[in-house]
């Protein structure tokens, strides 16, 4: 229980981390859009949501002790963590009043979340539905199929399924974002660690947050409704093109003045897992789990999806392929190949675990521990050397000099290794300048002392 609470203190995944890294002014700008405020609220863990809603209609700072009193005394510490998380997002600010710690909600966020909830303020924030009706109105089923096809072609591109048609536009984004890696010799694209992480993640967390407001707005649009592109900014119009290739939105023609969000877009910020709502022929199997791993390193995957087979073959040496299943072997070489691409053992184990066949889930641990241990060992084997760049300080003329420098290095956390017997200190690269300056200062002092004598 406690672990579950701990895990839910901040917005999960990349979006939350990204938002936290933004400067205050940017966040305030973001919060001027009611749709963004609502989307951020929806992504917060439930206790944080609760806290924000209770603070929404306060007009002055609230004492922290008041907030703590909302919980049973033994759990009051939880709110401290939640408030810390919220202040990182600049939703609340922590202050003090006469020695008592206080909490106040960010006014910009407060106003616009209020607008979102009661429907006042800028209407365009939630998208402008087209006024005219569309002669070629697509059905929801069509939009789903469209979204799935686009999304799968993106995933195929990432794992590098050779036969698959490549998505045109997002390709350069992936290359830029180092999701895939171009191999020098044959120009074939290969997956990198980040790219593999991308595949493993829930679709909700996948989007790189570029134009946040637009993404947050997309999240609150309605499936099957057409929206006018009139209210979009030039940047957002430009984004439409990329989003179209990713299958987030549908436009019948490039010049069309309306666009349809697909299910991928509308559930971007819904805060719940996507895989349930978007079930395609691949994902139906995926959500059930299709992989069986035996203690003899054999892997049976009940799938005919080229994508899943391509992902598996990143770290499994494939042996047999039937109409509805493939059989492969986890070997030292296959795992080492994956590791060489920067895929970690944890990622491999996570993939096998999340996609384990229901039969496998009956046992605990889901993946046989011999397999898990062996994969970890193969990884450790690769990292036989731990390397740290730095400087070796040696030939100290006096014991006292050694002591002083060692103390200085340890105090600042620059010391990597030392030996009193040999009078040697290894200082990290970052610390070298600092220690060098320290040595110079000491030398000066010593010279002055000598002159005084």
């Amino acid at each position: 229980m406690q672990a579950a609470i701990d895990a839910g203190l901040s917005i999960s995944g990349n979006v939350g981390k990204y938002l936290e890294s933004l400067p205050r002014a940017t966040l305030d700008q973001l919060y001027t859009q009611p749709a963004t405020c609502l989307a951020v609220l929806r992504m917060l863990p439930s206790l944080a949501k609760h806290t924000v809603l209770r603070l929404l209609y306060t007009s002055s700072a609230v004492r922290e002790s008041v907030i703590e009193s909302w919980a049973q005394p033994e759990h009051s510490g939880i709110f401290l963590d939640i408030l810390g998380g919220l202040s990182k997002l600049h939703i609340v600010s922590l202050g003090s009043d006469g020695g008592k710690r206080t909490v106040s909600i960010n006014v910009v966020f407060q106003t616009n979340l209020h607008n979102a909830l009661v429907g006042s303020g800028a209407h365009s924030s939630f998208g402008l539905p087209s006024e005219s009706s569309d002669k070629h109105r697509p059905t929801t089923a069509f939009l789903d199929r469209y979204a799935t096809e686009c999304w799968e072609s993106v995933l195929h591109y990432l794992v590098g399924t050779p036969s698959e048609k490549r998505p045109k536009s997002p390709a350069h984004h992936f290359r830029e974002s180092t999701l895939t890696l171009r191999r020098r010799t044959d120009g074939e694209l290969r997956i990198t660690s980040k790219g593999f992480q991308f595949l493993l993640q829930d679709q909700l967390n996948m989007q790189l947050v570029e134009v946040l407001n637009f993404f947050f707005q997309l999240g609150s649009l309605e499936l099957g409704q057409d929206y006018s592109i009139e209210t979009l900014t030039p940047t957002q119009k430009h984004m439409l093109d990329d989003l179209k290739h990713l299958g987030l939105i549908y436009q019948r023609k490039k010049k069309s003045t309306r666009f349809y969000p697909t299910r991928l877009a509308t559930s971007l910020t819904s805060g719940s897992s996507m895989s349930v709502s978007l079930t395609s022929r691949d994902q139906a199997a995926e959500s059930e789990g299709f992989i069986i791993v035996e203690t003899n390193y054999r892997v049976y995957a009940y799938t005919n999806s080229p994508l899943q087979i391509a992902v598996l073959s990143l770290f499994v040496s494939m042996r047999v392929r039937f109409a509805n299943m493939v059989i492969g072997l986890i070997t030292r070489d296959s795992v080492r190949d994956a590791l060489a691409k920067g895929i970690t053992s944890d990622q491999i184990i996570a993939y096998l675990t999340t996609h384990a066949h229901p039969e496998m889930r009956k046992s605990s641990p889901v993946i046989p521990s011999t397999i898990v241990d062996q994969i970890r060992l193969w990884e450790m084997e690769r990292n036989r050397l731990r390397i740290s760049r730095g400087y070796l300080y040696q030939m100290f003329s006096r014991e006292q000099d050694y002591r002083d420098i060692l103390k200085q290095a340890t105090d600042f956390g620059y010391e990597l290794w030392h030996s009193d017997a040999k009078r040697l200190i290894v200082v990290s690269n970052e610390g070298h300048e600092h220690i060098k300056a320290f040595v110079a200062r000491q030398r000066q002092q010593q010279q002055q002392q000598q002159q005084q004598r």
Binding site: R384, L385, R386, S388, Y391, Y393, Q394, S419, K436
Partner: protein, 60 residues
């Protein structure tokens, strides 16, 4: 009063350390043998050491 040398500190198990020491007899890159599990070596040789070590371990 003191001298500072730039380089790379390598941490490894004693067995691997012995292999690196054997490599050193041909290539001379160890600046200081720190202790059982630590070596301080020439920064420009570290890639070579990693590659050679990989090869030697693969042979087994």
């Amino acid at each position: 009063m003191v001298r500072a040398v730039k380089g790379v500190m390598v941490e490894c198990d004693p067995a691997v350390k012995q292999i690196i020491k054997d490599l050193d007899t041909q290539h001379h890159f160890i600046i200081e043998d720190l202790d059982e599990t630590h070596l301080f070596i020439d920064a420009s040789k570290i890639e070579m050491v990693q590659e050679r070590l990989e090869e030697i371990l693969e042979e087994d």
